[in-house]
Subunit: 224 residues, 2 copies
C-alpha cells in the first residue's frame, strides 16, 4: 500500500555498519541500506509472512543470493530494521534531553523530536511495530531492552521535574507510558495528507506532554 | 503468535446479524462469529496476505465453501471484523457519555470504558489497525467514518467542558487526538502478563485524560 518508504539514515556509530563497510567501503553499506528500505516496503505492502527474500532482493535490484551476503535470513532483515530504528530513536531522545537544562525543556525537546521522528518515519515505525511478534525471542528481548531504555530516559526527566517541583504528578511509570503513547501513536494516524508539518505536530505533543506532567498549574502556561 | 483471540460479542442490534439469523436461527450467527474469531486469529498469526480463506475455514472447523456461505471474500471477512469492532467501540463511547451528567464525568467514563475495551480486545484491535490498508477503498471510508464519529463524540464533551469552564484547553481537535492515542495505543503495549487489571488501566487513562483537558488546575484533584 505504501509507494515509498522513507530511508532510515545510517548511524555512523553503528558497529555493524563499520564492520560491513570496513574492507569493501561505502558501496556495501549502501547495499545494506537499499535492502533494508526494500524490506520495509515489502513488509508494509504484504506483511512479513507473505514476503520472501526474493521479493526483497528484487525490490532492491539484486539477486536473492545478494540478500544472504548481508543478512542470514528474512528474520535477520526484520531484526536489523527494528534494531536500527529503535537505536536511532533512543539516540535522539537522549540527545534531546542532553540539549536542554531544565526538566520542562528536556521533556519538551524529547516529546517534540521523538514525535517528528514518528511523523517522518511513520511507515517504518508501523512495520517495526506490526511485525514485532515475528522476531525471534532473542531479538524481541533485544528490541524490548531498547524500548525500556527509551522509557527510562523519559522517566528520569519526570523524576527530576518532580524533585525540582516543576512537575506535579504522582505516578511516574503510568505518566511516562501515556507520554510515549501520544508519540508512538502518531505512526498509526499520520498520513502525508495531513496539513500540519512534522514540527507543528511535535510542538503540539511537547505542549500536551508538559500539561500531562502537571507543569505550570496555570493552564495559560501550557496550552496546546 | 496469538494462541487465543478474544471473541467479539455479537451486537444484537446489528442488522446483518438479524438478517443472518432471521430464517435459520442462532446457529448460523454462531458460525459467523466463529469464522470472525478464526480470521482474527489467522490474521494475527500470519498477516492478511499470507492467510487464505481455507486457513480461516480450517481454524473454524468448516470447509472452505463454508466461508463463502457467509462472506463474499477474504476482504469481506476483514471488513466485517473491522466494522463490528469500530461500531462496538462507537456504541460504548456513546453509552459512556450518556451515562454521566458533567463533562468531567463523561470524559472519565468514556476514557475508562474505551480503554477497558482496548485491554480486553487488544488482539482484535491490533489486527484491525494493522490490516486496515488491505480493506477496499469503500470499506476503508466506511471504517474511517466510524472513527470520525468516535472522535466527534469525544470532541463534543471537550467543547461542552470548555464552555462550562470545567476544562481549560485551546485546541479541541489536537487534544481529542492525544486522548484517543492514549486509549488506542493500549492495544500495542498491553500483554496479559501486565499485572494491572483492565479497570485499573482504564482508571489511569481517565485521570490522565482529565489532566490533559485542564480539568482542575490544582494537580491534587487529578492525579494519575
Amino acid at each position: 500500500m505504501l509507494s515509498t518508504v522513507s530511508s532510515i539514515p545510517r548511524l555512523s556509530t553503528d558497529p555493524d555498519d563499520v564492520a560491513a563497510s570496513g574492507t569493501v567501503g561505502a558501496p556495501q553499506s549502501d547495499t545494506v541500506q537499499r535492502l533494508l528500505d526494500a524490506a520495509a516496503q515489502a513488509f508494509a505492502d504484504r506483511g512479513y509472512h507473505a514476503t520472501t527474500t526474493r521479493d526483497i532482493a528484487s525490490r532492491a535490484g539484486l539477486s536473492p543470493a545478494g540478500v544472504y551476503v548481508h543478512f542470514s535470513s528474512k528474520e535477520d532483515v526484520l531484526y536489523q530494521l527494528s534494531r536500527r530504528g529503535h537505536q536511532q530513536a533512543l539516540d535522539l531522545v537522549r540527545a534531546a534531553i542532553a540539549s536542554a537544562a531544565s526538566p520542562a525543556a528536556q521533556l519538551a525537546a524529547a516529546m517534540s523530536r521523538f514525535t517528528v521522528w514518528h511523523v517522518e518515519h511513520y511507515d517504518i515505525a508501523r512495520v517495526v511495530q506490526h511485525e514485532f511478534p515475528h522476531l525471534s525471542q532473542e531479538h524481541r528481548d533485544e528490541v524490548l531492552d531498547l524500548r525500556k531504555q527509551i522509557d527510562r530516559a523519559l522517566r528520569q526527566v519526570l523524576i527530576a521535574g518532580r524533585a525540582s517541583g516543576d512537575f506535579a504528578l504522582d505516578h511516574i511509570a503510568n505518566t511516562t507510558l501515556a507520554l510515549l503513547s501520544m508519540v508512538v501513536d502518531v505512526a498509526r494516524w499520520y498520513t502525508p495528507a495531513i496539513a500540519r508539518t512534522p514540527e507543528q505536530i511535535g510542538q503540539t505533543n511537547a505542549v500536551l506532554g508538559l500539561r500531562l506532567v502537571g507543569y505550570a498549574a496555570s493552564p495559560t502556561r501550557a496550552r496546546p
